[in-house]
């Protein structure tokens, strides 16, 4: 290339710090794919965290972390909103709706899923006795609310996959893996039919499918970490 022809400014490189099996990282990968953003994956061993991760997420020390031109964005749903805004171009699908009220609704359900479904779900898997029963009950009540919220829609936002579906991804692909590893059945036969239908829609989506970890590998991974989760959860529950 002659010196008089400067190349156009290359877009800042995108890297995603991830760890095997993380549903949170999955959300971001799907978001990046929806926007057609090329990126490099940096896979962490969470039992031995890299300097890169600790430097870029000193507050939470968790994955995923998005590095855009070296600047870090942390917390998966914050990253998804960032991807939606920073990488938007004409042809790309919108992850959050554009209308302010619809956006507030999407954020509400994403938060409900995080606080009222995923949190007690995780706790119910790694506890026993009365605590376990309490967390399981809370999870099931929340799943019923979510099931009702789907109300015949294909995805949570309507016809197209969006923010709330990404927030709920754990329920589509990870829930029965957790049940199997923990030996605890939370969802009975025939329960939450709308959610089941949604889970099939979600996991067969052509973009999502590319980023679903292999089920057998997930089972092996969670089984290998079962003791660690159990003691972490025990400590967290005791603190409350």
């Amino acid at each position: 290339m002659s010196s008089s022809q400067q190349p156009a400014q290359a877009p800042a490189p995108v890297r995603l710090i991830t760890a095997f099996g993380s549903p949170f990282a999955h959300r971001v990968e799907v978001a990046l794919a929806l926007k057609g953003v090329p990126y490099e994956l940096v896979v962490e061993d969470l039992a031995s965290k890299s300097e890169l991760l600790l430097a870029h997420n000193p507050v939470h020390r968790s994955v995923p972390v998005l590095l855009h031109g070296g600047r870090a964005v942390c917390e998966s749903l914050v990253i998804v909103e960032y991807v939606d805004e920073a990488f938007h171009h004409g042809a790309a699908p919108r992850i959050l709706p554009t209308d302010p009220y619809d956006r507030a609704t999407a954020r509400f359900w994403a938060q409900f899923i995080a606080d009222k479904c995923l949190k007690p779900l995780w706790l119910s898997m790694w506890t026993d006795g009365e605590a376990q029963a309490r967390f399981a009950r809370e999870t099931k009540e929340s799943l019923a609310v979510l099931d009702a919220q789907l109300d015949g829609k294909r995805f949570f936002g309507g016809d197209a996959l969006g923010f709330v579906d990404l927030a709920a991804c754990t329920l589509a692909h990870w829930l029965d893996v957790l049940e199997e590893v923990a030996g605890k059945r939370l969802v009975g036969d025939g329960e939450y039919p709308a959610l089941r239908r949604w889970a099939k829609e979600y996991t067969s989506d052509e973009t999502v499918r590319r980023f679903l970890p292999d089920r057998d590998e997930l089972v092996a991974f969670f089984a290998a970490n079962k003791e660690r989760y159990t003691s972490m959860v025990r400590a967290a529950v005791q603190r409350q």
Partner: protein
């Protein structure tokens, strides 16, 4: 059926820091609204109908349509009234992500740790005190030498955190530490925010908050 009430209404509870976030955001934008104090021991039909999922305040009603969860309400106010300055979230996506990250941090950490600080005793209380100091120091560091969390402009993270400055006195008493001493930048920031009309008007005096905690403790049968 009666027509949906036009305009803005806020279902709220006087001392709630979450409700105060919304009041501050509305006042910053100069948006008139009807304040509706709720009796949380005897929840109104309007509250239960507007927030059937959580049955909690704050709830913003905009032309009768409910928005729930305080930080979601603040973002809604900013987006639905984007024409009204000041913008509470910055325009740049990266700056917005930073703002959302820190508001989320405040939301996840401050109130829960604060509650453990006044509710618990002995080792558990010591642990809560240790954590509260870590949280405040982290926020002090995030603030850095900036005027506000977003830099020169009062914004989303300031709105998210400033109501808790009225609780600093209580945290200090229960935790036996001084915010001024441990986090001088945060203490200065709190004072700076307190000079804004929207904040001065909507926060209760720290002694009143301390008194309220005393009432809560009696209610829960805590010594």
């Amino acid at each position: 059926m009666a027509a949906e009430k036009k305009g803005l209404q806020l279902l709220d509870f006087w001392v709630s820091p979450f409700g105060q976030r919304c009041r501050i955001a509305l006042d910053e934008k100069g948006l008139p609204y009807e304040y509706l104090e709720q009796d949380l021991d005897n929840k109104s039909e309007l509250l239960l109908r507007s927030n059937p999922v959580h049955k909690k305040i704050p709830v913003l009603l905009h032309d009768g349509r409910p928005v729930c969860e305080s930080l979601i309400i603040v973002q809604y106010i900013d987006e639905a009234f984007a024409g009204k300055s000041p913008a509470l979230l910055p325009a740049d996506p990266y700056a917005r992500a930073q703002a959302r990250f820190w508001a989320d941090y405040v939301d996840k950490k401050v109130y829960d740790c604060g509650t453990r600080l006044w509710k618990l005793k002995g080792d558990a209380q010591q642990q809560a005190c240790k954590e509260m100091l870590e949280i405040l120091k982290t926020l002090d560091s995030a603030l850095g030498d900036g005027k506000f969390f977003g830099g020169e402009q009062f914004g989303f993270v300031d709105v998210a955190f400033v109501p808790f400055t009225a609780w600093f006195l209580s945290y200090e008493r229960y935790g036996k530490f001084s915010v001024e001493k441990e986090c001088p930048r945060l203490a200065a920031w709190a004072k700076r925010c307190g000079e804004r009309d929207s904040v001065a008007k909507n926060l209760y005096p720290p002694e009143k908050v301390y008194e309220f905690i005393g009432v809560l403790k009696k209610k829960f049968g805590i010594e």
